[in-house]
């Protein structure tokens, strides 16, 4: 395990967590802030993962630190569970569907964009 790389992932991940926290403060019944953070992180992760072949160290910092720190699965699960507990099944399903659809679409777009930039 490369300790220096791990510390860099931590520094970038900490900064990305602060940005995610600021997104999470967006008001409303629907947790749109975390949806935006997860989608943006997936796009960044897609671009960075396609660039891993060029600079593996920078790629790992961007994928694990920036994209990993900006996105969250636990908060998504907590917010969906809370919507279910609040008898808001439509919003819960919408949260699941949007987090599934937008993150995968964003990661695919990012990966394709990254590969196109490499050509």
């Amino acid at each position: 395990m490369n300790l220096q790389l791990m510390l860099l992932v931590g520094l970038v991940g900490g900064g990305a967590s602060v940005i995610r926290f600021l997104f999470s403060l967006m008001p409303g019944k629907f947790p749109v802030g975390i949806l935006i953070a997860n989608t943006l992180a997936s796009f960044i992760g897609g671009i960075a993962s396609s660039g891993l072949a060029i600079d593996p160290t920078l790629g790992l910092i961007l994928v694990s630190g920036l994209a990993g720190g900006l996105s969250t699965f636990s908060t998504f699960a907590a917010q969906t569970s809370t919507l279910i507990s609040q008898k808001q099944p439509k919003l819960a399903w919408l949260n699941v569907a949007l987090n599934f659809g937008t993150t995968i679409t964003a990661a695919t777009l990012g990966t394709n964009l990254g590969l196109a930039l490499l050509k």
Partner: protein, 117 residues
Amino acid sequence: MPLTFVQLALVFTGGALGSMLRFAVPFDQLESLWLVNIVGTIFLAWVNSSAWFSSASRRAFWATGFAGGFTTMSGIAVFISTAPESPGFAAIQAVAMFAVGIAVYHLAAKRFGSVTR
């Protein structure tokens, strides 16, 4: 509650710790995703249910920072988008992780809530 520098610093520190711990998980991509996301979700359920974590500073560090930084949604999305040879298998894994994660949070929050409150 107004944002404070201390609150942001706690989110940063917790997020850095969670990100480093996730980075150090020594399994392959899929096993790591399952481990960090399910363990991190159970941890968040405990944090959200426990009276000890009810202060804003502890929540900023452990819930928003640590649990948020330890778990990852982008990892799932990148796993699916970079698995062109088996997109169906990757999508099934993601759907299963979503279902298990939400169910585990729901059950764990009830369990921990009944113990600590």
